[in-house]
Symmetry: C2
Subunit: 332 residues, 2 copies
């Protein structure tokens, strides 16, 4: 560390160095939202409250509690409360802490009845609607952003699976998105398949369109190649100011960028590591007896092949261990 402190290199020279910090960075905890993909969003309310309060104590800027999933698609019998994030469920978590952290939900294009299920902001404890879409869903995503913006929310667009998008399509998409209502556009490594040089090239590409429109770049990682934190750092160095992370990396499949690593790295005195460690000890590590997440060989294989992790998730759900057979299937 000493070496770099005395001689910062590259883009950090004018953007913060090892001993300083970048005050324009905001972090979002999506432990409950992304982690919910591994248990059909069936977290107990006490756990959600504990994560919510830990994030407040740690100075985290935003917390995402789940999805606004359409009940016509996702029944309440099959999915827990955090798949729908009804206002009364949100209020039970937020309690008297309203306003101490910005609260977000994710709304998936074509899987959210946003006109009816997202209330006007003055009737909700929510602050932010994060619209997630694949590149072919941008028209509907734009309508969702406008709807949420008009209702009074801060909005983000999370463009998923960019590692499979064609370069020309991505350029066109960015040109359109940059003029949308979204305050932040997220580079999303859905399959955990990107490495540092690709992150740098993509961040530069996104920023080319976003900066002129006054929008922020966000980054959301997956850990299939043990690169979730590393790529988040690269995105920071490139200029991303909105960062997703989860406690213990809890998230779909190989999980996400661990909040504890990110907070330790950022050096911003507004962020506190200890409340996150308390939450790890008391709430998140104990989940491992019920849930399995985090880097493992099968996730590495789908990430390497730039595929959705569903084959690897099934592999572990079914208690399989033959990674050679999985590899043979994946490359068949």
């Amino acid at each position: 560390m000493a070496l770099n402190a005395s001689k910062p290199v590259g883009k950090t020279r004018d953007k913060g160095s090892w001993v300083t910090f970048r005050p324009d960075i905001r972090i979002l905890d999506c432990t409950i939202r992304d982690g919910g993909l591994m248990n059909d969003h069936r977290f107990e309310e006490s756990l959600v409250r504990a994560v919510y309060q830990a994030c407040i104590a740690a100075g985290v800027d935003y917390i995402e509690l789940g999805y606004k999933g359409a009940k016509r698609i996702y029944s309440s019998d099959q999915y827990g409360a955090w798949k729908h994030c009804d206002e009364d469920a949100l209020r039970r978590v937020v309690g008297d802490d309203c306003g101490k952290i910005k609260t977000a939900v994710m709304a998936d294009a074509e899987r959210c009845d946003y006109h009816t299920d997202i209330l006007p902001k003055d009737q909700s404890v929510l602050d932010v609607i994060r619209v997630a879409c694949y590149i072919h869903q941008i028209p509907i995503a734009l309508d969702m952003l406008k709807d949420a913006h008009d209702k009074g929310y801060e909005t983000t667009l999370n463009l998923m699976a960019v590692s499979t998008a064609h370069a020309d399509d991505l350029e066109e998409a960015l040109a359109i998105i940059a003029k949308s209502e979204a305050e932040t556009v997220y580079l999303v490594d859905s399959y955990g398949s990107l490495y540092s040089e690709e992150i740098r090239a993509l961040c530069d590409k996104y920023l080319e369109y976003l900066v002129v429109e006054g929008k922020e770049l966000g980054f959301h990682a997956h850990n299939n190649s043990q690169l979730a934190y590393a790529n988040t750092v690269e995105a920071i160095v490139c200029g991303a100011n909105r960062l997703d992370a989860t406690i213990c990396g809890l998230g779909r499949g190989a999980g996400n960028c661990p909040m504890e690593l990110l907070i330790a790295f950022l050096h911003n005195p507004a962020y506190k590591l200890r409340p996150i460690l308390q939450c790890i000890r008391d709430h998140v590590e104990p989940l491992r007896s019920k849930m399995r997440w985090g880097y493992d060989t099968a996730y590495m294989l789908t990430g390497h092949l730039n595929q959705h992790p569903r084959a690897a998730i099934s592999f572990y759900d079914e208690g399989k261990t033959d990674v050679v057979a999985l590899w043979d299937e994946l490359i068949e």
Copy 2:
């Protein structure tokens, strides 16, 4: 991937791109050597043979089987065969496969009776002696390198714990090491505390001294911050051509750069992923019932604080789970 394949960025443009590979890169498996730090080098011979044969099948260039530890310090009662790597033990592993992969051992400065315990090369199946030292041990390391070189071995110098070295001392050390017998000098992130910008600055510094002397730069990572693989990729981009990795990242504490990730990344058709996956399935994953290694919160804390992982290793050895108490102790 498609984006970067069509438009390689940065230093890879002239050093290999996503769809090509760098033929000058050589990889070394140190599963048994570094992993042995977690079980007093008590691997069964059948396991060592399995890893050895998997590395041959995978096209790995070098394999390191253990230490040449002094028996006056490390008794045979307390340590397994791979702490001493006597010639007869090595020969039982190498068997008829001699010459199919270069075989290495590590010799620690002040902890190896190298004059007597390292045989002349024509009496040994070993090809490479890797001398490991801290920066204050360079004088003895130079004598060890000369001894091994004169006996006919290829040699490397692994300068440990560089994250705690003073910048001026490191400059002086590199100037001396660059003129030693070592064919390769390794940048070693002993505490898993370095991140990409530091790796780039250090690689550039090392190469400044090594290139003019015709020496190669190597890199050896630890995974305390989930950066072992990421930092190895950064070292590659910077020009490191000698890379250490271990199957499933098996190694001391948080472990090392996983061989399976590295081989998948390198795109060199000489390297095969499938034999590594077979070894994972049949030999390395089953070790988890007896050994604990890999990234976990306690290792992250020692890495973040740029400390030796011994406090975290003890924490897990003693079955502790209170990471908050550990944190409070570490920063006391």
